[in-house]
Subunit: 394 residues, 2 copies
Amino acid sequence: MLNTKMQALGDAPSPIRALFAYGAQRKKEIGSDKVFDFSIGNPSVAAPESIGREIVKLGQADPVAVHAYTQSAGDPGVLQTIAESFNRRFGTSYTNKNFYLVAGASGAISCTLRALLEPEDEVIAITPYFTEYRIWTEAHGGTLVEVPARSDNFEMDLDALEAAITAHTKVVIINSPNNPVGVVYSRQNEEGLADLLRRKSVEYGSPIFLLSDEPYRELVYGGREVPWVPDLYDDTIVCYSWSKCLSLPGERMGFVLVPDAVTQSRAVYSAVCGAGRSLGYICAPSLFQKVIAKCVDEQTDITAYERNRKLLCEILDEFGYEYIEPQGAFYLWVKALEPDAEAFSEQAKKHELLLVPSNGFGVEGWVRLGYCVSEDTIRNSCDAFGALKADYGK
Amino acid sequence: MLNTKMQALGDAPSPIRALFAYGAQRKKEIGSDKVFDFSIGNPSVAAPESIGREIVKLGQADPVAVHAYTQSAGDPGVLQTIAESFNRRFGTSYTNKNFYLVAGASGAISCTLRALLEPEDEVIAITPYFTEYRIWTEAHGGTLVEVPARSDNFEMDLDALEAAITAHTKVVIINSPNNPVGVVYSRQNEEGLADLLRRKSVEYGSPIFLLSDEPYRELVYGGREVPWVPDLYDDTIVCYSWSKCLSLPGERMGFVLVPDAVTQSRAVYSAVCGAGRSLGYICAPSLFQKVIAKCVDEQTDITAYERNRKLLCEILDEFGYEYIEPQGAFYLWVKALEPDAEAFSEQAKKHELLLVPSNGFGVEGWVRLGYCVSEDTIRNSCDAFGALKADYGK
């Protein structure tokens, strides 16, 4: 009498969201300073002050103008402002006609996959990967194919990718800076992927689209380069979000960018608009469209994440945890102390440590720590990490 | 190489949205006072002042708290506040566990249909109906069955509905106050539907869900009653929006309400959450969740719509147009002066009158006028209505 697939999705929320909900409850029970919640990517750094100032101005402006529907893709003036900001940053020449504003990178990826996928199409994701890629791929009729990252440095394994690409491959999703590992793909690695996709597109006579999921583009450490992917490969569609770089995760602001260089660019753009329509998206939130237009050149202060990263690494080092040194985003990928990551995450809960098990990211044996938390949370978690290590007698 | 259905949806945007985009362009060309844009349901009445005040306060509050992700269904405290407001209004006993906040009524309907529909399921809509019901039904694998409203008063035709219900009928969508006609179904008419659905649910051994699409609940004139539909029929799911009643259309705030009386209520609620997840919805915009919690008992001032309605009816009367006297919402359903509504809408454009042709609502021969515009727009449109009438030599 209902769609049992949807019920199953609702009954088993994403492991990240489930742990986040557990954390919220637990904080109520024992106090938020007693729970070391590394579950969710909720930025702990405040949005730039200009965001608050613009919100105040819009709260005092003509409400009919502020809150009206915009065109589905977004207000054309707002889109043009965004286009020009990206043009300044990347030397591109986009216009408002290349951008489709939508509710965050999640909405952007969902619309893009729905726009592109036809029955029997395959989408490749690189494990470990963001939990929901599989959900959205399957929601829009595709099949997700997992290709493991290189085990040494978690960059893309181009040989494994080549072996996985078939005549059915429609999309390859990449996410750099990467959630959950924190790796940033090198230019060389991405150029290798671009060469491979060009070769395979010719071989199969149809473009393979590269979906670049970029909510963490601005969150990099030590001056690491994050190449502008459309420069490397023409059939790139960028799914972007201001959730992390402007610390606005709950406001659901992001975009799909379809550059003119994409094969049948206007048709693809139309299909993205059609996909948004078919899913019930009407327009991105009006007030925040105007906020973004004013603040698109702003950046959140990432020095707090840098400090957190250093501090957390020191604690992990102290107790001898094994982890991947993060280059970007705000996640640490830590080896679980037993093969079963879910059991390890449960054990960590006993010390009020909320660590997301790697199973939801498509691999066994690791946990993800979001260090977008207060410095105090990290400092105070030290004993818990020690006690957790002691549980395993090492 | 892409999903051609999505491309077609994008290439042919909803007739309302297409006319709205045309109007925006035309206003730029000749000045907004020269274009009589009755195309879209963008409220012309300002949001209550308290909305602006809350926005200002939130712009000055801790941005980390204001803009954080909430739980997917919405912040539990916000949901509880909403539940209590509806309980006061309708004598119900809902809690936060009955509500799922989502991006407007559109998002709510999309999630509800996706939650319920299985292959071969049918959804019944009463023509004329809101353009997008068909899109969302088909997007989620169902078949839309159109049942004409009664031709005399545009209430539901219960005999025609009975004839249309089959073993495949999963959902009946109703929308009262109605877009596009402006009719409000009487209690007797809705009780008749409830009786019919109970009888048919027993006959086919499975519940038929009543989806009550309620963005216009508060917009009624002359003290007309809008019954609380879950009181009349247990398997009612309410899809609600604050777009019109608080004049916040662009902010995308609405909910799905699954009362406990619904068959397998918890499973249905889970399926709604799962549907939202599968479509890429993450949470309703955080700042506006907090605004709604503060302003949920507020109401927009609908006296302007009452004045507009009266004024527009006077103009239509003056030139002898035939129309349905509206009881609610902010639409007038006017008989086109030729059988082809699209041709009539094109003819009206020559006088800068933007009237939505009825074809997109599933019927021939009418146009929809949204009178959620400034009083001046209506006053100044008088000559254009006269000239349009004169074009048809009557």
